[in-house]
């Protein structure tokens, strides 16, 4: 199993030498840090045979407030055949806060990306219906960003006519 895992990572490095910034293993999880522009291509490659990472387990974002490329998108892929999990990360800066949507590859990316948009304000290129999911329309700010205060109050929204 360990050998298999190494193979995937090596193959990935061969295939996309300049697009992969870093490969690391921590707490038993494999991390791959890539350039944000190549996400769709790399994920598509991994989804196909023989690696068959056919499941998008999870998709989320982390806000590193003090770093230049502030937002880190985190994707967890899972291969049902090989019983392997892979974490793909990519950095976004606040100025250009957009990344390709994975809705063309997985259905659940739709809601997951809406959640990230709702909580962090990341724009997803090619998302069919990008709007808030947990918060209401008219909510100000992005609550999971580190500069959003824990106890911030929201303005009242006007009554509907």
């Amino acid at each position: 199993m360990e050998m298999e895992k190494k193979k995937v990572l090596e193959k990935l490095k061969q295939k996309f030498p300049e697009k992969i910034k870093e490969i690391s293993v921590q707490f038993g999880d494999e991390n791959v840090l890539i350039e944000s522009g190549f996400l769709l291509g790399i994920v598509q490659f991994l989804k196909n045979e023989p690696y068959a990472y056919n499941m998008l387990l999870d998709l989320t974002c982390v806000d590193y407030k003090d770093q230049e490329q502030r937002f880190e998108m985190v994707y967890h892929l899972y291969s049902l055949n090989n019983k392997q999990r892979l974490r793909i990360k990519t950095r976004l800066s606040e100025k250009d806060l957009s990344i390709d949507s994975l809705t063309s590859l997985w259905e659940n990316a739709n809601w997951l990306e809406r959640e990230v948009y709702d909580m962090f304000g990341v724009q997803f290129r090619g998302h069919p219906d990008l709007r808030r999911i947990f918060m209401y329309e008219g909510f100000e700010g992005y609550p999971l960003r580190k500069d959003y205060p824990l106890r911030k109050r929201q303005p009242r929204i006007p009554l509907r006519k």
Partner: protein
């Protein structure tokens, strides 16, 4: 709020609002339906009515303090939520619970799974008109919750599984209560099979309704009983066994068609397997039983008084919080590393080391501080893979904590599942998903 469907709907069709205060919507979800008489042309599912900022709150709590928040995610199987969180942190810290604690964890999470499935099926059957099934299932759940209450002291908000082990040992008489719960649950399962399996009314509303293909289910990120009902073999307990699941013998029931009835059937069969697991774990659980550890010793007040002069060497009968002498029991149910566990109360009250440990544990910036890095760990929850993604920056609070909620993925498929069907089909379809508001909306 102007929702998408209000803009897109055809002029001649009827818009009907279902929920969030609709009894079949379980309180926290809203579906806007575009109808042609009773036929659903389109729909829009709106979630977020129970959003309470779980992830943001966790970023502002210490690793120890945020445990009670995890109870409130899935309030019918809180112990599995505890377990998922605790094991994620344990993986970062590199510690492992003692074997007895592992078995207790397995017993508790299987009991939770049974109570989760019972609740889901009870609601689903009741909404289809089978009120007897609801009452029977609730009865069985009471017996299971008796065991949970005896062990954890609470029925729902347990906070029982702790980093490094579990909070307390099993109740001295747990075996009798557990055996009773197993017998009663088996009886109820038999009755429910008899009431529903060939029931024409139930079959009409569930057979071949809301069919999901395996490809679709995978594409939607389904896990748990819902994914297995489509015939895909994936169970976290088998794919990457945690605790002691690899030492226990159980099967993973699969469905064939992926319709509402299969989702019902898979849950019923899974409960049977969970009961098997509990029985095996009950036999295999190692270590001295708690009744053997009811230590004879001096009274706590006496011990505290004596400790003023010098360290007490005699055994203390009760710890000062009246839970029985914790020191003896902690050996079997908590990890040894003093940095990560609350010291036994008899130590805290009678020795200087104990009090230092206590303060070091609870003082701000001093408690549990996992090394820098990030981790994803998942357990098999009541309705699928329950994963925690934690980013640590080396302080005593998680920098980011994200929950992979299984029913978030499942509910996102609802729009597609009910498209083209009748309004009446929404209810069993939604019921078979086991939507849990606390987990979905976080």
């Amino acid at each position: 709020m102007s929702t998408r469907i209000q803009k897109e709907a055809r002029k001649e069709s009827l818009l009907l609002n279902m929920g969030p205060s609709h009894p079949a919507m379980h309180g926290t979800i809203r579906i806007m339906l575009e109808l042609d008489s009773e036929r659903i042309l389109n729909s829009e599912v709106e979630v977020g009515y129970l959003h309470r900022g779980f992830e943001k709150t966790c970023e502002n709590r210490t690793y120890f303090n945020l445990l009670p928040y995890t109870d409130r995610l899935n309030y019918v199987s809180p112990l599995i939520n505890n377990l998922g969180y605790v094991m994620t942190v344990e993986r970062m810290l590199g510690i492992e619970a003692p074997e007895r604690a592992q078995y207790i964890r397995v017993i508790m999470s299987e009991l939770s799974r049974i109570s989760d499935h019972l609740t889901c099926l009870a609601a689903m059957a009741m909404e289809c008109g089978a009120f007897t099934v609801f009452l029977y299932n609730m009865k069985a759940r009471e017996f299971i919750w008796d065991v949970i209450e005896d062990t954890t002291g609470a029925r729902m908000t347990t906070s029982y599984i702790r980093i490094g082990g579990v909070r307390a040992d099993l109740h001295p008489d747990y075996k009798a209560v557990l055996k009773k719960a197993i017998v009663e649950t088996r009886k109820v399962l038999k009755d429910v099979h008899g009431l529903l399996d060939k029931n024409k009314i139930f079959l009409n509303r569930t057979r071949d309704i809301a069919v999901v293909s395996p490809e679709k289910a995978i594409s939607y990120g389904w896990t748990g009983p819902c994914l297995r009902s489509t015939g895909v073999y994936y169970d976290v307990r088998k794919a990457s066994p945690y605790a002691v699941y690899d030492r226990l013998d159980f099967e993973v029931p699969l469905g064939e068609r992926g319709d509402n009835f299969d989702r019902y059937m898979v849950r019923m069969k899974e409960m049977e397997q969970s009961l098997r697991i509990v029985e095996q774990a009950m036999e295999k659980i190692p270590g001295p039983s708690p009744s053997q550890l009811m230590a004879k010793g001096i009274e706590p007040a006496e011990a505290i008084k004596a400790s003023r002069a010098k360290a007490v060497e005699k055994k203390i009968r009760l710890s000062p919080n009246l839970e029985g002498s914790e020191k003896e029991k902690y050996k079997n149910i908590l990890a040894k590393d003093k940095k990560y566990i609350v010291p036994p109360k008899e130590d805290t009250y009678t020795t200087i080391e104990g009090i230092i440990n206590h303060f070091k544990f609870f003082m701000r910036e001093h408690g549990i501080r996992p090394p820098k890095g990030e981790v994803y760990f998942s357990v098999e929850g009541g309705n699928g893979e329950l994963g925690y993604y934690i980013v640590s920056d080396g302080t005593d609070k998680p920098y980011r904590l994200h929950l992979r909620a299984p029913c978030f993925h499942i509910v996102s498929a609802l729009e597609e599942m009910i498209q083209g069907r009748y309004i009446a089909d929404v209810i069993p379809t939604f019921g078979s998903m086991n939507m849990i508001g606390g987990e979905l909306d976080r």
